[in-house]
Symmetry: C2
Subunit: 139 residues, 2 copies
């Protein structure tokens, strides 16, 4: 089976995932890379890295696909079944280091589970900005 070629673009993308532990959406990634990389390429790289087990993705309630690096996955097996968190204020997605049990139900054949936690992240909660400046006025 073919490998993920270590092209400059792939290196750049992987590097960004090394820098931060948060999940990153394709759009955010395109912005971060600015005009150094075509957006099509970014989408294709994310896809490839997910298939090879280097990244995993979750769908945010915002309808965006968020990617984060996998710890112990491969193209054969995705073992990353940790829960994720999304902030209702800033939209950021976090991987959480908690064990999750996959419940089984009689009516279907469950293969995997995703636990998605929603709330306000500490940074947003701490920032006085949200109290002083109502959200509607920001930006």
């Amino acid at each position: 089976m073919s490998q993920v070629r270590k092209t400059k673009s792939v290196e750049k993308v992987l590097h960004l995932f090394e820098l931060q532990s948060n999940a990153i959406s394709a759009i955010e990634l395109v912005e971060k890379l600015d005009k150094n990389m075509n957006k099509t390429t970014v989408y294709r790289i994310l896809d490839r890295l997910e298939n090879k087990g280097l990244l995993h993705s979750i769908m945010g309630r915002d309808g965006l696909k968020w990617y984060a690096k996998c710890k112990d996955c491969s193209s054969e097996k995705h073992t990353d079944a940790h829960p994720h968190f999304q902030c209702t204020n800033c939209g950021k997605v976090d991987c959480l280091d908690i064990e999750v049990l996959i419940p089984q139900v009689k009516q279907h054949n469950i293969k995997s589970a995703e636990l998605f936690l929603i709330g306000e992240c500490n940074e947003c909660r701490m920032s006085q900005a949200d109290i002083l400046i109502p959200k509607q006025l920001k930006k």
Copy 2:
């Protein structure tokens, strides 16, 4: 606060949710209503019904928003914290009647949780069609 007006369109949409317990996506709904209702209207009705607590929605891994009727919710409180299931084969989304505990984490302020189960539904598993006719050849 304003109410949801009982228009013909709203009645039709609500009726469809009465008929089936599965979740329905906006697109599916537009198809079911055929050309009897403008798609914009459908999107707006779903939105309104969700805000008023008559429906709740979940994001599928397919990137589509799936709606289902709430049992004990209102515009003030969404108590429906049941898990959902999506079939990897037919894409159908199901509400499951299981209690889910909302885990708390130190780093964030968790307000709600969604448990999403992924697998193959019974109908798909039972149907011999998938064995006799490889997916790629179908349709």
